[in-house]
């Protein structure tokens, strides 16, 4: 039994020795070195990618903050300067939702788009009435004003509400 075990060990060792004699050690060492270089470069690339990703994510976050600030500022009442035409976005004071008003000019019917909630949206021409509040002049020079939007009848019919309820008051 022992002899057989020794024979197996000798056979394995003989094969190993013969195999190892054929190895070009310098070439193997060079190959290992090359693989290590690749591994290091790969690690460096991954680190660079992570850094670039973090920077990009930071930039996106910063851009998002700027966008929100701009959006808020845009959404903020910009004063009563309708004589020159243009558009304004107003927020409802008494009703939940928002409306965008295109004034073209002040004394004509203007296009009003109102988000009623959810995906419901009403667009119509309507009269607008601006009630300027000069006595409440603010420090930054802006003049706050009230705007009353009276929706036309067809829109009201679809909505199933009375005309009075659809008189919307907004602060510009």
């Amino acid at each position: 039994m022992k002899d057989k075990n020794e024979q197996i060990d000798l056979l394995l060792e003989r094969n190993t020795t013969e195999q190892l004699e054929t190895v070009d050690w310098d070439r193997l060492n060079t190959a290992i070195s090359g693989r290590l270089d690749q591994a290091r470069q790969g690690t460096t690339s991954r680190l660079r990618f992570r850094t670039a990703f973090k920077i990009a994510a930071g930039l996106v976050a910063a851009a998002a903050v700027v966008f929100v600030i701009v959006a808020v500022r845009t959404d903020t009442p910009t004063g009563v300067q309708f004589e020159n035409g243009g558009s304004a976005v107003v927020k409802f004071v008494e009703s939940k939702g928002s409306a965008s008003i295109q004034i073209q000019p002040i004394d004509a019917k203007s296009q009003v788009s109102i988000d009623i909630g959810g995906s419901r949206r009403e667009v119509a021409k309507c009269d607008i009435e601006i009630i300027d509040v000069k006595e409440e002049q603010q420090k930054n020079g802006r003049r706050p004003a009230w705007i009353i939007i009276r929706m036309p009848e067809p829109a009201l019919a679809d909505n199933g509400t009375s005309r009075d309820e659809m008189d919307l008051m907004c602060l510009l």
Binding site: L12, R14, L20, T22, I32, S33, A39, R40
Partner: protein, 187 residues
């Protein structure tokens, strides 16, 4: 005597610590010190120097990338041998699953060494051992390969294998039993 033994323990420890700080030259020295030893084990396990060379390269890369996690630099050899042994097992088993003959390009062979007759005989034995080793279990293949390494204690073998010394001996016994049958034409 293998290259790993030429350097004393404190030198190895110093090189490992330097490698852990990112010193590539230190790791290159470790490669030169241990490449013959790990090749010896890999060839015993796979029966083929070309396959073993691929496994050794992959093993060193894994060791290089993971050396920062090695807590005790004194255990570098055991740790490295475990990495290479596992890589060898994975490669051999993957080839077995694909039912392919384990074969790699003869890139590392220095063909000047053997005569044609010797080479034919060696090739026959190599292929027989290669096929026989694939029929062993993972533990048996590891055990028989590691027990063939000089100056590696049974305790170290068991550490590399992740089992008790008795279990490692049992796996060697089982491996020899199987190989006797599988290689009877060469005995």
């Amino acid at each position: 005597m293998n290259d790993g033994q030429k350097a004393n323990t404190s030198d190895i420890e110093r090189l490992v610590k330097a490698s852990q700080t990112g010193d590539r030259n230190a790791f290159d020295k470790l490669v030169r010190l241990y490449q013959r030893r790990v090749m010896h084990m890999a060839v015993r396990m796979l029966g083929n120097a070309n396959e073993a060379a691929e496994v050794v390269q992959a093993g060193f890369v894994k060791a290089y990338l993971g050396i920062g996690k090695l807590r005790n630099p004194k255990r570098f050899e055991v740790w490295l041998l475990r990495i290479v042994a596992n890589a060898a097992i994975s490669r051999a088993r993957a080839a077995k699953r694909r039912a392919e003959k384990v074969k790699a390009a003869g890139y590392y062979e220095n063909k000047k060494t053997l005569s044609p007759v010797e080479r034919a005989s060696a090739r026959e034995l190599k292929e027989a051992i290669q096929q026989a080793m694939l029929k062993l279990s993972r533990k048996e293949a590891k055990a028989i390969a590691l027990f063939g390494l000089k100056d590696l204690s049974h305790r170290q073998v068991s550490e590399i294998m992740g089992c008790s010394v008795e279990a490692a001996r049992w796996h060697v016994f089982r491996a020899r039993q199987k190989l006797k049958g599988l290689l009877k034409d060469h005995l």
